[in-house]
Symmetry: C2
Subunit: 262 residues, 2 copies
């Protein structure tokens, strides 16, 4: 929880409530659960929760007394994407990629060492990766993240992850030197790769999107290992490269301030 200088207790608590519920299992939490998890008296939470209910930022589970994320929070939060006036172009590119290679494609930005998925097109195939718009993952363990970290020096990486690189699977790169080496290679060939480092049985190929020569986003294609072949990898790289070029040329004409958005 933010221990910065400026801190308005009521506001922080509202956000604490929303984050607690959104990060939890989506069964929701009761008032007393929230109170104990946030170390806030029930009586203080009571009027806040009811205001959030009235305004539909939370909803009360019919089963009994479990507070869940409400529709208004979704509506208000969705307007974040209005900042990206190229969102339509991005989904069009992803759509095209997935149409051709039949695998899921993603668009993400970097925030404090984590990737945030902003758009996703599902594979038409029945076996799919579980990933969703709005979710975040540590960048170092994902293909998308390696694209976004591509220009980082090893010192910047160490500063970004002061607690080290925690494994997400048995294949996650947890050594800074090895990660740095992979990023060097990625810088040379233009693509970043992930082999079951964030999800078992999933490989990923990714490419960064630059604006004024600075990496501002990345796109990727994720492939189950059993569908992964060299021919498919070649095809995906070709698709990613084309999409990258089109998006980067759009970024030259349209103003999108990525710096402001992360």
């Amino acid at each position: 929880m933010g221990d910065n200088k400026t801190n308005h207790r009521s506001t922080s608590r509202v956000l604490d409530i929303l984050e607690l519920i959104s990060n939890g299992n989506n069964e929701g939490y009761t008032l007393t659960e929230i109170a104990s998890k946030l170390n806030v008296p029930k009586s203080s939470l009571f009027p806040m929760l009811h205001t959030l209910l009235d305004r539909q930022y939370l909803s009360l589970d019919a089963n009994q007394g479990k507070y869940c994320i409400g529709m208004m929070l979704f509506q208000v939060g969705s307007s974040y994407l209005d900042n990206f006036n190229i969102m339509n172009d991005i989904t069009t590119e992803l759509q095209n990629i997935t149409n051709v290679c039949a695998e899921a494609s993603h668009f993400a930005i970097l925030n404090n060492g984590n990737i945030i998925y902003l758009a996703k097109i599902d594979s038409p195939e029945p076996i799919r990766m579980i990933s969703s718009v709005g979710k975040s993952l540590p960048a170092y363990g994902t293909g998308l993240g390696k694209s976004l970290l591509m220009d980082h020096s090893i010192n910047e990486l160490r500063r970004l992850y002061p607690d080290g690189l925690k494994p997400m699977t048995q294949y996650t790169v947890t050594d800074f030197d090895l990660l740095d080496e992979q990023l060097s290679k990625a810088r040379q060939c233009g693509f970043a790769y992930e082999v079951e480092e964030s999800n078992l049985y999933i490989r990923c190929i990714s490419i960064p999107i630059r604006q004024n020569n600075k990496i501002v986003a990345a796109i990727s294609v994720a492939v189950p290992t059993f569908r992964y072949t060299q021919e498919k990898a070649d095809l995906i790289q070709h698709l990613l490269l084309n999409a990258k070029h089109r998006l980067e040329s759009i970024l030259k004409t349209i103003y999108v301030d990525f710096n402001n958005l992360t």
Copy 2:
């Protein structure tokens, strides 16, 4: 602004701020603009806005001093869709529809007489409707909305829209009797239609999704009038009907409490 019994001022103000910014032009607002629009002293907003900034629920426009919707609000809000454990199935169906007919497809639910778009697949064609996930529109003026209102009686409609039906375009149905008549026809044939009632030059065909014989959601295809032909309409109705059947059979096996979510 909610004028209900339970009302926690600080919480309400946080929500007022978020809603104001999310509904506005996405240039954002300055502190003083927010203060005057919400009738709240600047000095009261100051600590709140800074807490929201620190927590990345808002971001400060680089230009100068304009508060915009931040990334954390997007992340937290996105988790609303976790409630719908059939979201993947829904997007798959929409994907399929759009692949075949080459027009944009949507999925929406009803909330207080408004439709909320929860998923959308863009048309591959260059000329597209402007509609986005998380946005809401009055149900009576949209194809999706008419599907969602299909089972409503004229009295229920009058209660739902006590201030009458306000026109969105020159073709919007603003008469309760005419709307009721259209809904009756829709109930008979199973489909709801919209002809330039919410957006000029856009027509829409829609079908409701039922759970336990109760309408809980709707899917639609939107078509620019100049691309609209009877053959295409027939194709779209066929696609919608198939998708409806598949989604409804999924809803029989998976538990999704739509009542709780609106």
